[in-house]
């Protein structure tokens, strides 16, 4: 029965010609939108994850902090669950770094007469801890310690950025959903056309008592084929655009983001798109074939 359904569906797709091509194209447009959104999303997420992982907690110390208190504070920090490593940056080291990073401002630092930079502990967080409340507990706890002037954690702006990205992802998903709905209607229309073209055959099948699965199967498979083809075409288009972007813009984007080269959709996303195409097509075919009863 499955062989029959595929055989008839393939013949019908070939007969449909241009309308089948329009249908595949419409699905492809919807899935290019979805896939493009996934591609951007995957890469943005990678950058954000990397930034998030490299986010550090800086604990600025008062100048008059004694060595004993500093050692005790360092020990306290190392014992915290969220902490992967701690580095002590003295006032002199902080000044050196500034001079190395901003050589054009050497005159400014020289004119100050004294070193304005505080000593600090730079805390690298363990992987996976950046989203935990353990980090919030850590920063809150350190802020109240003796000798601590200030605690800075540069994750907050990242959290806000991730919120914006999440909202954009939801908006893109809604747009892709609407496009997919439109694509499903197109597939349903094409399947209805082929049902109309084969009306006599369907009537005869009904008269000889063919099971409904036999009557409707080819139309459901036709939708499945159109949907799958549309999604596969979309993947090919996205791969082409990705290859061009990676070639011409890749190094610049990678440098800007600091997250290595651009990454294509993963196996999971690819499978999701193809299955999505097959699913949308089959659903549209099922709805359209309901009149063949």
């Amino acid at each position: 029965m499955i062989g029959y359904a595929f055989e008839e569906a393939w013949a019908s797709v070939r007969r449909a010609g241009r309308s089948a091509a329009v249908s595949v194209g419409t699905i492809a447009i919807a899935f290019v939108t979805l896939g493009g959104f996934l591609l951007v999303s995957v890469n943005v997420q990678r950058v954000l994850d990397r930034w998030l992982e490299s986010a550090e907690v800086s604990v600025y110390l008062y100048d008059d902090l004694s060595d004993e208190l500093r050692t005790a504070l360092e020990l306290h920090i190392r014992q915290q669950e969220a902490v992967a490593a701690v580095e002590y940056v003295s006032k002199d080291r902080a000044l050196e770094r500034f001079r190395a990073d901003f050589p054009e401002l050497l005159d400014v630092t020289a004119s100050l007469g004294q070193n304005p930079f505080p000593a600090a502990f730079e805390i690298r967080l363990r992987t996976g801890a950046t989203g935990d409340t353990a980090v919030d507990d850590l920063t809150a706890g350190l802020a109240g310690q003796d000798g601590v002037a200030d605690v800075r954690y540069d994750r907050r702006w990242l959290t806000r950025l991730m919120g914006i990205v999440s909202t954009a992802q939801v908006a893109a998903a809604v747009i892709a959903g609407v496009l997919m709905l439109g694509a499903a209607f197109t597939v349903a229309a094409v399947v209805r056309l082929s049902l109309h073209a084969r009306r006599d055959e369907v009537d005869i099948m009904q008269l000889v008592g063919a099971p409904f699965s036999y009557i409707r199967g080819p139309f459901i498979v036709e939708g499945l084929l159109l949907g799958g083809a549309g999604a596969a075409l979309a993947l090919a288009v996205i791969a082409g655009v990705y290859a061009a972007a990676a070639r011409w813009l890749g190094p610049d984007l990678a440098g800007l983001a600091g997250a290595g080269p651009l990454q294509f959709l993963g196996f999971r996303e690819g499978v999701f798109m193809i299955l999505g195409g097959l699913g949308v097509g089959a659903l549209a075919g099922t709805v359209a074939s309901r009149s063949a009863k």
Binding site: Y4, D203, Q206, L207, V208, G209, Y214
Partner: protein, 223 residues
Amino acid sequence: MIETKGLGKIYGRGLYALRDLNLTIDKGEFVFLTGPSGAGKSTLLRLLLLQERPTEGDVIVAGRNLARLTRHEVQAYRRTVGFVFQDFKLITTKTVFENVSFALRVLGMPVEQQRRRTYQVLKWVGLQHRLNSLPEELSGGEQQRVAIARALVNEPHLVLADEPTGNLDPDLSLEIMNLFRDINASGTTVVVATHDRELIKWVGRRVVQLEHGQLAGLPEAPR
């Protein structure tokens, strides 16, 4: 085999195609349904093939009340009935062999069995030399023989034919009627709707006359 009780079919705003029809056809009988156009012959066949449901009364075939069958039971019932129409109803894109084997294929019969049975029945109607022809390459009589082969291929208990010779010349009509007689001789119940009185006379079987959706003359006596 077939029994109708107070059978009625109303179209539109109260137009009776059949009215209070009480009819009995025994198993193995050959019956002609006749009468003028609009008498209800085709309507009765459509009800027997469950292309339509009755508005009133019951149609009982082989002990089953057709009015009560579910959609899936309708399909199962149709597998036990062969049908032949005036316009042949062949699939134009399929060959003679495919048109006939199609009825077996959709029932899921193994391919080898399909081939054997299809060849047998096409040989029986004398078309074993036209297996790969398309319907448009056949004469009217040949096309109707393909339709008869398709009706018989799954060995139905009942064959319904609606004006099967309506598009054929007298010689071909006799040829087709001979096939129906042979089908009936093997024990299959045959119901043929026709208005061709010469043909009815020539075949010489029971005649049910319909007029305005009712039996003409006296109601059928209980059998």
